[in-house]
Structure formats: structure tokens, C-alpha cells
């Protein structure tokens, strides 16, 4: 395969088929964790790791998996790999585990992992599938980071609070005055829905503007498959 294929995969993962903004998959962790930047990005990084490894494993084993029972086997592979990653993190990267630990089991519930395994890894080679897992993960991290930053800034007036647990020595920033009373709605799940909606609208607007400038009739907005 030549480079343009990988460029296509990367573009798909980060922009065109972005998991958070276009596929709207994996809302459960997105809404639960994106209360601040550090938590959001931490979950995103753990997701990249799980997606890359499960895509790699499924792509490598795809010729041994009968079509009729592929879903239970995919779930088995993903759950087993997440368990192993969880144990290895706990044992050998313990300080990182204390931060990411609660997020790793959560990833099993993220349907984006199963979705990519089914839609991509089951039909493509191991290398391309790994790249797809990473690109989809990076796209998710970007959305999580922006959403986390907006919620943290509006909700509590800080940015990067809690970063000292990930990178010792750094400190979170107090952006708004220390007396900022906080805006609870942004921290609560409804705030996540509202801000995610704004992000999706923003992306659609950018795409529509680009389409207009290219003087191609703008495609009607595609209804995204709703999924929790």
C-alpha cells in the first residue's frame, strides 16, 4: 500500500469520520469524563492504545474468525486485551495507572472500539488497521480536549487542573478570577450535550463553507447514526 492510503485513513480518523463529531460513537465516556482537560485527554490516550492494539489483533486474526460468530469473538478479544493492558499498567506503570486506571475498564464500554474493529480491522491488513485505530483515537482526543477545555473553563474557570498527577511539577492554570463562582451546568452532563452540539455544528459549518468555496453544491447534512 502506498502513502496516500494512510493519508486517507488519517484524514478519515481525525476529520471526515471523527468519532466524536461525525460518527457520534462512544458518547458515554465522552460525556462522563470530559469535565476537565486532564481527565479528557487521559481517557483519550488510553483509548488510542486500546484501539490500536485491538485493531491490530483483530486484523492479524481476521482470517481465522468465522463470519457468523465474529461479534462475540471481537468482544472477547477486546475485553481480554483491555484486561491485560489494565494489569500491565497497574504493575509496571503504577503512577500512570493511578491516573488512567479508572478509565481503562471504561473503554470496554466504548462502542467505538468494537465499531472500528468491525468496520475496518475485520477487512483490512494489520498495519493499516493499527493506523486506523490510532487515527480514530487521535480524532477522539482532539474532541475530548476541546470539550474538556470548554467545560472546565466555563464550569470552574480553570484549565489543566490536576495535571500535577500526570506530570509532577506542573500546575493547573486559574484562568478566570479566583472568586469565579463556577457554572454548574457546564460540569453536569447536560452541559456536555450542549457543548458537544456546538462543536458538531461548528464542524458542519466549516465543512459547508469549504464546500461552498470549492463551488460544489454543498451536500445535505448526513444524519449521523445515533448511538450511546
Amino acid at each position: 500500500m502506498d502513502m496516500s492510503v494512510y493519508r486517507e485513513i488519517t484524514h478519515n480518523g481525525i476529520w471526515k469520520q471523527n468519532t466524536g463529531l461525525v460518527q457520534i460513537l462512544g458518547l458515554c465516556p465522552i460525556l462522563a469524563i470530559s469535565t476537565n482537560v486532564v481527565n479528557a485527554v487521559s481517557l483519550g490516550l488510553a483509548t488510542i492504545l486500546v484501539m490500536a492494539i485491538s485493531n491490530l489483533a483483530v486484523a492479524a486474526l481476521r482470517n481465522f474468525i468465522p463470519y457468523e460468530i465474529r461479534i462475540p469473538i471481537f468482544i472477547l478479544i477486546i475485553a481480554a486485551l483491555v484486561t491485560v493492558i489494565d494489569l500491565l499498567f497497574n504493575a509496571y506503570l503504577h503512577s500512570l495507572y493511578l491516573v488512567l486506571g479508572i478509565f481503562i475498564p471504561l473503554i470496554v464500554t466504548n462502542c467505538i472500539v468494537l465499531a472500528r474493529v468491525e468496520a475496518f480491522a475485520a477487512k483490512n491488513g494489520a498495519v493499516a488497521s493499527t493506523v486506523d485505530g490510532i487515527a480514530m483515537g487521535v480524532g477522539l482526543v482532539l474532541v475530548l480536549a476541546v470539550l474538556g477545555a470548554m467545560r472546565e473553563l466555563i464550569g470552574s474557570g480553570t484549565l489543566f487542573a490536576g495535571i500535577e498527577m500526570v506530570i509532577p511539577g506542573l500546575e493547573g492554570l486559574q484562568i478566570l478570577p479566583a472568586g469565579y463562582p463556577g457554572f454548574l451546568l457546564a460540569i453536569l452532563p447536560p452541559g456536555a450535550f450542549i457543548l458537544l452540539g456546538c462543536l458538531i455544528a461548528g464542524k458542519n459549518w466549516l465543512d459547508a463553507r469549504k464546500a461552498r468555496r470549492a463551488k460544489v453544491p454543498s451536500a445535505p447534512p448526513v444524519a449521523a447514526p445515533a448511538q450511546a
Binding site: 469524563i33 504493575a91 490536576g162
Partner: protein, 219 residues
């Protein structure tokens, strides 16, 4: 398709599923076995670190983790498994008790607490050792996640004393008590506050026995 070939296909599919299950279960079992010792060791280390947070090491001179008595599952502590009470002494005299308690009614499940109580019944310190409260909202009960670094929420128990006659005061302010809560996440604060109160009442009531019994015995 004849009946026979359907049977063959089903059998083959079943065998593939079983094979995958066996391989990946073995993978998990191996990983569990390879990491168990390291994980246990760091859990023990974490425990000692946490004990040092609720009770400064300078306060006592005995081997704290070696001086303990066993507790059956006790209802006031919220524990449904046997636990241990550790006893801190200085020059042989009782200084403090260190024990675990559980708040069963957190916003998302149980909140595990470690409490150190002086022989006089006063709280030395309380820490949350395990919880699943909402990140960024209810997790301020964990001192590391508390944004108020100058006076973290959990430290308001330091020096507090449980008094039976003031039972009604041992609550969060929203319930008419004396302890603060963070607006929007009262449930977490309420669960911890009530659990600490119940645990202190239990420990104070059984103080004589908890200090007096020989190490290694059971209550």
C-alpha cells in the same frame, strides 16, 4: 444444505469459539499471574502511604501494621467483609486507632475511607482510599482531586470529635449539620460525613476493647 453439513458447520463454529475463549482466557490468566506480586506489593505500599497521611509517623513508635486486631463485618463501619484495626502506641501507651470504613451511599457506589482516631476520641485524619464519584464533580472528597488546595474538604474532620449528645450536628450543612459540602455534589459529602460519624461512634464505644485486646486477636 443437508442436515449433516449444517451439523458439521455448527460444530466447527463452536470449536473455533471455544478455541478463542481458551486462548484469550489463558492470556488473561498469564498476565494476572505475572503481575500479581508486583500489584500486591504496590497495593501494600499505597496502604502505608495512606496510613501516613491520616496519622503522621512521628506520632507513634510501634510497628503499626503489626499491631492489629481483627474485626468481623461490622454494620456501623459499613463493611461486609472482615477488616483490621491498627493500633498506634507511643512508649506502650495508646495513641490512636487506624481503621477502614465504607460509605455505602456515594453517588456512584461505595466510598472506602481510612480513619485515624485518637485515644481521646478525636479525629486525627480521614482519607478516601477508593471511590467512583463523578470526576470533576464529586471527586473533591479525594484530597488529591480537591481544587481547594489551601483547605481541602476532607480536612474539616481533623480534630473533630464525635459526641453522642450532638448527633444531629454530625451532618453536612445542607442537612442542618456543621460540615460543609460542595454545591451540586452534596451526595458525596453527605455519604462521607455520615459514614465518618457512624464509624467514630462505633470506635469510641468499643475503645477499651479495641486498645486492650492482645495483637492478633479478634473482637
Amino acid at each position: 444444505m443437508t442436515g449433516r453439513s449444517i451439523t458439521v458447520v455448527s460444530l466447527r463454529t463452536g470449536i473455533v469459539l471455544v478455541t478463542f475463549t481458551v486462548i484469550f482466557t489463558a492470556l488473561m490468566a498469564l498476565a494476572h499471574r505475572a503481575t500479581k506480586d508486583v500489584i500486591d506489593a504496590s497495593a501494600e505500599e499505597e496502604k502505608m502511604k495512606l496510613v501516613n497521611e491520616v496519622l503522621p509517623a512521628a506520632e507513634y513508635d510501634n510497628a503499626l501494621l503489626a499491631d492489629h486486631i481483627g474485626l468481623p463485618p461490622v454494620e456501623p463501619l459499613g463493611l461486609d467483609e472482615p477488616s483490621q484495626v491498627f493500633r498506634a502506641r507511643r512508649n506502650g501507651k495508646p495513641v490512636a486507632l487506624v481503621f477502614e470504613a465504607v460509605a455505602p451511599d456515594g453517588y456512584s457506589g461505595r466510598i472506602r475511607l481510612l480513619i485515624a482516631m485518637r485515644a481521646s476520641g478525636e479525629v486525627v485524619g480521614v482519607r478516601v482510599s477508593q471511590h467512583k464519584e463523578t470526576p470533576g464533580l464529586g471527586d473533591y472528597i479525594d484530597i488529591r482531586k480537591d481544587r481547594n488546595k489551601a483547605r481541602p474538604w476532607i480536612t474539616q474532620f481533623d480534630g473533630a470529635r464525635y459526641d453522642e449528645s450532638e448527633r444531629a450536628k454530625w451532618r453536612v450543612k445542607k442537612d442542618g449539620g456543621r460540615f460543609d459540602q460542595v454545591t451540586g455534589a452534596t451526595i458525596s459529602a453527605r455519604a462521607v460525613t455520615n459514614a465518618v460519624g457512624r464509624a467514630l461512634a462505633f470506635a469510641a464505644e468499643n475503645r477499651e476493647k479495641l486498645f486492650g485486646l492482645p495483637s492478633g486477636s479478634k473482637l
